[in-house]
Symmetry: C2
Subunit: 372 residues, 2 copies
């Protein structure tokens, strides 16, 4: 049972068909002049149009990149580079590591963090104040948080940035494919693997009015050496497939997430975090008092249940979650669930029953205090 | 008939099977902790071992990157960054654009070019002199040239660099998969799409003793956001498939190239370039007097024959070839042929006959001088 579909999910038959078609017809380099290349170019152009349609922009505003993180790196660096004289980058306290690292790298200083409230919403007056500083080069505020699921009020955020002439980069890597794309941004990053597409490719969008300068070797583009045409094609097909069923899927997964929030949240010493209303339909994180996150992940894995940890959930960074710290929640023993459309009611029944069984066991094994 | 298999080729059934298997079992993020991720990790580890074996190094010396060019960018930047105090980069006059651009970008000055002779061999005394300068940070010399096919004497090149303590980056993006991998390098770049693998992935190798410093945001690796596991797997399978038949394929393709060199080279006003002996078995370039390169490519495309131009052969850079200029050859009207193993004797018969027919036609159309 795969409940870690944030940034990766099993591919549907339709996406696998698109990949096979892409490798059959799109193996050539789309930048050359002959028929084989024109065929590849037509496929990648079609994919670009598909993604552009889905987020309501024109295809020329969209670029495929090697990964969402590679896209964030290049967006931050190139928009920052067009704002010479201004060098501060403003971010929310719950942006992804990639945004913070890209910012520190190009600006050679830590970005200025705007706090969030206990549900994860950006403090708008604090944002307003931060962006009032004339030294601000750009702001990066996410659409939705990949750990706690909270969706930001980007209309308000973008209005604040626009009024001050500060370009806004929106990290939509956890939201597009699950909820409606945001309307207001100057640049945007998307992650196909998060909506059921293949890994190894990302998407960025830039409004025509957004100024940037290349911050990379001459001849490179947003994607040095290009990207895989079949991966681009499959990304667009996966997004199309998700959008066709978006409302239905979102309603069904939201109902399952609601059950997890209610049932697991009612268990002793477990906190469910994030905004209960303005949230991603398919993501939920909770923290368990007196439990080590890695031990819980490992136990669930042995039960055949794959979950993520609230933090970056990689083998190398099983460390306390910065996002949970920023909202004042427990930063240990946390589990992040991200549901893909193939998950059933029965899966969630089993997941809740398993949590109810293994959490007290792990606490007992760890010698945690129990109520008389 | 696809005769432009430098950097792209139709995928064989075995490579397409590897891709399908990779997307079935390797869709998860290999960096996470659960079973699905461990499966993906095993696939990418196996792929890394396969490529490492093929070039005679250990798997820990090998990294997958988003493309060969992205790999060259990061190798040049990171090795240069570990040599603070020394900032000059030395290259051959026929390195790929990517090497020159990566060098100019990180060093903020043009690299120093070492000339080549009329066959394309690096001038070793000139290299020796250039590397004697104490301000040299690194050298980048290709294994074989992708346009003219000439193979460098890397044993001699590396001996010169090693004696002066200068790290040597070897661009082997046109050679590995076609001829034996070079023995002597400090860092190396490889291009899976050049040996029949998929596009959208590259490979780099670093000797354990080669010093480098990350020249990218914290948390990024050689490949920011990782690479596609199925593309990595298919790259290794494609290399294995090529190596199993390497000697046989090389001998057969070399014979076809020899025929092109002899028959096309005997036609009036056509020059065949590159070393006739120390060369890639599958690549040949020739230049046609009084002919526009793009017109020839387009005419051949209409005849169902896909070739490359001698220059970077992209739609955007149909400009005189820098490589041909460096060896003193005609820089216009040039055609680059790169054969994949599926090409037959009959294909080459037809190609030679087509050249014999269309070149005089194009010259007549252009009003070129003809012999009485």
């Amino acid at each position: 049972m795969f409940l870690d579909a944030g940034g990766s999910a099993p591919l549907t038959p339709r996406v696998r068909d698109a990949l096979a078609a892409g490798f059959a017809d799109g193996w050539a380099d789309p930048a050359r002049v002959h028929a084989e290349s024109r065929r590849a170019r037509a496929l990648v152009d079609g994919a670009r149009e598909g993604v552009a349609d889905a987020i309501g922009v024109s295809a020329s505003d969209i670029h495929f990149v090697p990964s969402a993180i590679a896209g964030i790196d290049r967006l931050v660096a190139s928009i920052w580079s067009a704002r010479r004289g201004r060098d501060e980058i403003v971010v929310s306290a719950i942006e992804r590591d990639a945004v913070l690292h890209a910012s520190s790298y190009i600006a050679r200083r830590e970005p200025r963090e705007v706090p969030v409230d206990s549900l994860g919403h950006v403090d708008l007056p604090a944002l307003e104040q931060a962006l009032g500083d004339p030294g601000v080069a750009l702001a990066a505020i996410q659409h939705a948080n990949h750990e706690i699921g909270t969706v930001q009020d980007l209309d308000a955020v973008h209005a604040i940035a626009a009024e001050r002439g500060v370009p806004l980069i929106v990290d939509a890597t956890a939201s597009v494919g699950h909820i409606a794309a945001p309307d207001h941004w100057d640049a945007i990053a998307l992650n196909p693997a998060d909506w059921g597409g293949p890994a190894g490719i990302g998407v960025i969008g830039l409004r025509p009015r957004t100024r940037w300068l290349p911050a990379w070797p001459e001849g490179d583009d947003w994607a040095p050496g290009g990207v895989s045409v079949p991966l681009a094609l499959a990304s667009a097909v996966a997004l199309q497939e998700r959008l066709e069923l978006a409302e239905e899927t979102a309603a069904r997964l939201a109902e399952l997430v609601h059950r997890i929030r209610a049932d697991v949240g009612a268990m002793e010493g477990i906190d469910v975090v994030g905004d209960p209303e303005h949230r991603l339909p398919h993501v939920v994180t909770f923290s368990c008092l007196y439990i080590d996150g890695e031990a819980l992940l490992t136990r669930l894995d042995r039960e055949g249940i794959a979950v993520g940890s609230g933090s970056a959930c990689t083998t190398s960074t099983l460390e306390p979650s910065r996002v949970l710290g920023a909202i004042g929640a427990l930063t240990h023993g946390n589990v992040r669930i991200a549901l893909h459309p193939g998950i059933t009611d029965a899966d969630i029944d089993r997941f809740i029953a398993t949590i109810a069984r293994v959490v007290p066991q792990l606490r007992a094994e760890a010698g945690a205090p129990t109520r008389g």
